[in-house]
Amino acid sequence: MLNTLKDLRDLVVSLKLTVVLLVFSIILVLVATLDQVNLGVWAVQEKYFKTFVVFWKVGNVSVAVFPGGYTIGGLLLLNLLGAHIYRFKWEWRKLGIWFAHAGLILLLIGELLTGLMQDEYHMRLDQGQTKNYSESYRNIELAITDTTDPKFDEVVAIPEKPLLRLETIQHPKLPFRVAVKAYFPNSLLGMRAPAMGAENPVAVTQGAGTQIVATQRPLTYKENERNLPSAYVELIGPEGSLGTWLVSVALEDPQTFTAGGRTWKMALRFARHYKPFSLTLLKFSHDRYAGTDIPKNFSSRIRLTTPDGKDDREVLIYMNNPLRYAGLTFYQAGFENNDTTTVLQVVRNPSWLIPYIACGVITFGLLLQFGIHLVGFVSKRRGAA
């Protein structure tokens, strides 16, 4: 028993394990890179890196073929920590190695934290428009808003998961239940024409769905395309059904109805993340090199205001120069509508400083270690000559 433990310890701290794990990570990164041609970068991360095991589809069966990013990264972390604790001695000659690996441990932990905590949204602003929320790229929500009081809106947002599971949702703020009849993760809208076979799979009795049909589409992973989900929901009040609606991300305006003596708006939309401040796009500029279409710079002049009036200033966001405010970072990500709409990427990453520190530590360690090597080598040659 003791021997087995000893063997295990020797394995955990061994350089052999390091080399094997390095080989595994190279293969994983290589295959994941090649698969980006098929899946796009997001799906690849889920399939290869943010997982313990990589599955490949053989026919209809998922087969575990390779350890995933979490497994390899975790084992590398274990190997590093073990070797650090067990084998490293406080020696001047090894100090560089010690720093380099300590930094590496920090880097791996930082990446794990980033993977767990980082949120990415985007904010689309037309010239002159003001917004106090950003939208998710992928997550959606079914928002049901009580608009009876003109002074404020009360929003109930139902996330994607219950929609996917076709659940019936009861919420204390809603005087009705929401029964999800069908859900398409990606869809295409068209005009309803029962004679031509263009008919909704669920009979729609209310709203836009009486004229429009949604057709299910396969999920897309292309960089320049988005999945546009649609759902069929039936609202059931105490006296029975209020009707069935078609809701879709592709429908621009929310659909209005009344229930329980109040006025409601309902929309399927990309999940919103509200902020305690608002941004107004004053001007978007798109500079090109003279006589060409090669973009030289994109920039957004933004007015940043908080409700309490403590902040009211203009900022300029451009390439390589984001706005960092209230734990969020706003990057110039794109533009639309003939250069009158700006698209800002909004990132919340509380652990963004860790890689900077880790890299500094590793670089220092490597410089120290190889510097010691080099000095030793040169003085040896001097001595020999």
Partner: protein
């Protein structure tokens, strides 16, 4: 005697190199030198016409020299003059390289119709332009990564034809008879036309012909503004800002408004009439007068144009490439005979070639106002430069000609790669918005490129170990140990730089896109290089590999680096896919195959190694 021979040879080589820096001599009565240094704005950069002529020829036909049907050699500037002013003559030069057999049959051509079985004239192509246009529309509907070789060839030829037509329409409106003659009478034509139009508006008798002439002219100006490729008309105020530059069409329209021909256009019209009318004296006095006025208005730009034209004609990278080959051969021979003398000559040649490419890179940096690496082409130059610099250090330390051999090999190969990458057009490109940051170009890009160079260098040193060990008896224990130390040291160096470079890339990404690491293909490529170098070091420290294993791992590093450098660009996905190449794909495969072969050779049992079987 033996002592001075190396020195004499090196001095001779240095003189030869220096002679390339002299002003180029044109065997022509026309002052082509001054003409070729006239400035124009193209693709966002102000450059001499010489550069436009050369890069256009490279794009069209893969080389800078034109051979006319009668066997006469046409220099790039003469070709440009014919393109601008004698389009019918230019159309008879074989300046389109077409190799794809299906594209040829599309145009009803066979290889035998062309010069050297691959160069065709515009006249030959122009009969079937409609079919080419139809095929390119079909090809364009297919997404870029999945286009077939035929579709890519069709689109490439279509782009070449467009470039050719736009270049021809830069000064003279296509299809307008006596265009230059009309411009020569510009003031009178405009005055008559305007007077006629006013008279007709006032309801008085008017010269309908004059009005019609002016209307047709202004129509052709508008067309020229759309198609004109060159923007050779400097701003009237003479400011250095590149925004004020116009093409002839725009300047002509402004001239109509002003009622007076733009002076730069006047010059280009005069030059055209002189070129057509075989009047070298007129041509020369016009071009020199214009040059003198430009020297007063925009002296800074003119200096840059002069330097760039001289840089073009001296071809520093081509010459350095040739010297590297020579150095490589001499250094290899030094292992067989006269190690001292040949070794010294080889090392001296490496230093000369290195200084030459240093000067070349320096001039490019000055012209562009950028750090050394801005695109794939300059990364090839820089990878070679760094690797040769390290080789020079190694050679100074060890003096066993290994550094010179490797320098010759790496220097030559990287410059050859660069030479082929230059076929895409002007290599001094403007930086796209996200890359427009000298700070990050100077830190991340340079460091990561140094990492590439060092990883390659370790691999090439390992190749020498394997080749000398297996095929010759020259790998004695001292040399083998020295090579091992070199490879080990260079791998350490490579680990440091590729790691720091990759991390700086992550920090740049965090600054500009909001994430430190995005699993983008190019990022992954750099990561794999770091992991591979780390693997080599750990395998060595853990005693998993010894000399031969270290060498084989280092050769594998060549494959890893080549894939990260070029392979990921061929995937055509991701934020870094700025240089999609196609023909290069097969070269990459061939390179990988050759490295695999060397690794297999390197794993032969020691008894089969000629060097080691002899010592035992």
């Amino acid at each position: 005697m033996k002592r001075f021979l190396p020195l004499a040879i090196l001095v001779l080589a240095a003189l030869l190199v220096a002679s390339t820096l002299l002003p180029p001599r044109y065997r022509s009565e026309y002052d082509l030198a001054t003409f070729s240094r006239l400035p124009t704005l193209v693709n966002g950069r102000i450059k001499p016409l010489d550069t436009v002529a050369r890069t256009s020829l490279l794009v069209l036909q893969g080389r800078q020299r034109v051979t006319a049907a009668d066997g006469r050699t046409v220099t790039p500037s003469e070709w440009l003059l014919d393109m601008l002013y004698k389009p019918d003559v230019a159309d008879s030069y074989p300046t389109f390289e077409i190799v794809h057999p299906d594209v040829l049959s599309l145009l009803n051509l066979t290889p035998e119709d062309g010069v050297a079985k691959k160069r065709f004239t515009y006249v030959q192509i122009s009969k079937n332009l409609a079919e080419l246009a139809r095929q390119s529309r079909l090809a364009e509907e297919v997404e870029q990564p999945v286009r077939s070789a035929f579709q890519r060839a069709v689109l490439q030829l279509r782009d070449s034809v467009i470039l050719y037509q736009r270049l021809q329409g830069s000064i003279v409106a296509p299809g307008v008879p006596n265009f230059l003659e009309q411009l020569n009478q510009f003031d009178a034509v405009v005055a008559a036309g305007v007077a006629a139009a006013r008279a007709r508006q006032a309801g008085q008798p008017s010269d309908a012909a004059a009005a019609k002439t002016l209307l047709e002219l202004t129509d052709s100006f508008a067309t020229m503004e759309q198609v004109g490729y060159l923007l050779p008309i400097p701003p009237v105020t003479g400011k250095a800002d590149s925004r004020g530059w116009h093409n002839a069409g725009a300047a002509l329209q402004a001239s109509v408004q002003a009622g007076r021909l733009n002076p730069a256009i006047t010059t280009y019209v005069g030059l055209g009439l002189a070129w057509r009318g075989y009047q070298p004296a007129t041509f020369n006095s016009l071009v020199q007068q214009y040059r003198a006025s430009l020297d007063r208005e925009i002296p800074g730009i003119m200096t840059k144009c002069d330097v760039e034209a001289r840089f073009n004609s001296s071809e520093p990278f081509y010459n350095a490439m040739m010297i590297y080959v020579l150095a490589f051969l001499l250094a290899v021979f030094s292992w067989l005979v006269w190690p001292q003398e040949l070794g010294r000559i080889a090392f001296g040649l490496v230093v000369i070639a290195f200084l030459l490419s240093t000067a070349g890179i320096g001039v490019r940096m000055w012209l562009e106002g950028r750090p050394p690496v801005t695109n794939l082409y300059s990364s090839a130059l820089f990878v070679g430069w760094v690797a040769v610099a390290l080789c020079i250090v190694l050679e100074r330390l060890y003096r066993n000609a290994i550094g010179s051999v490797t320098a010759g090999l790496v220097g030559f190969s990287t410059l050859l790669i660069a030479h082929h990458l230059a076929l895409g057009g002007d290599t001094l490109e403007m930086m796209r918005a996200v890359l427009d940051s000298n700070f990050w170009l100077a830190t991340h890009v340079v460091t990561v490129t140094v990492g590439y160079a060092a990883t390659f260098l370790a691999g090439f040193l390992a190749l020498i170990y394997v080749v000398r060990g297996v095929f010759t008896r020259s790998l004695d224990k001292d040399t083998a140990d020295a090579l091992t130390r070199m490879v080990y040291g260079i791998v350490c160096f490579a680990t440091l730089f590729s790691f720091v470079g990759t991390v700086l890339g992550g920090i740049w990404a965090d600054q500009s896109w909001g994430r430190f690491w995005g699993w983008d293909p190019k990022e992954n490529g750099a990561l794999i290089i770091v992991l591979w170098n780390a693997l080599i070091l750990h395998a060595r420290w853990g005693g998993l590999v010894r000399q031969r294993g270290l060498m084989n791992l280092a050769i594998m590093g060549n494959i890893v680096t080549a894939w990260s450098w070029f392979g990921v660009n061929m995937l055509g996905v991701g934020l870094h896919s700025y240089g999609f190449m196609d023909a290069a794909f097969w070269w990459l495969i061939a390179f990988v195959a050759s490295q695999v072969a060397f690794i297999l050779v390197g794993t032969l049992p020691l008894a089969r190694w000629r060097s080691f079987s002899a010592t035992r």
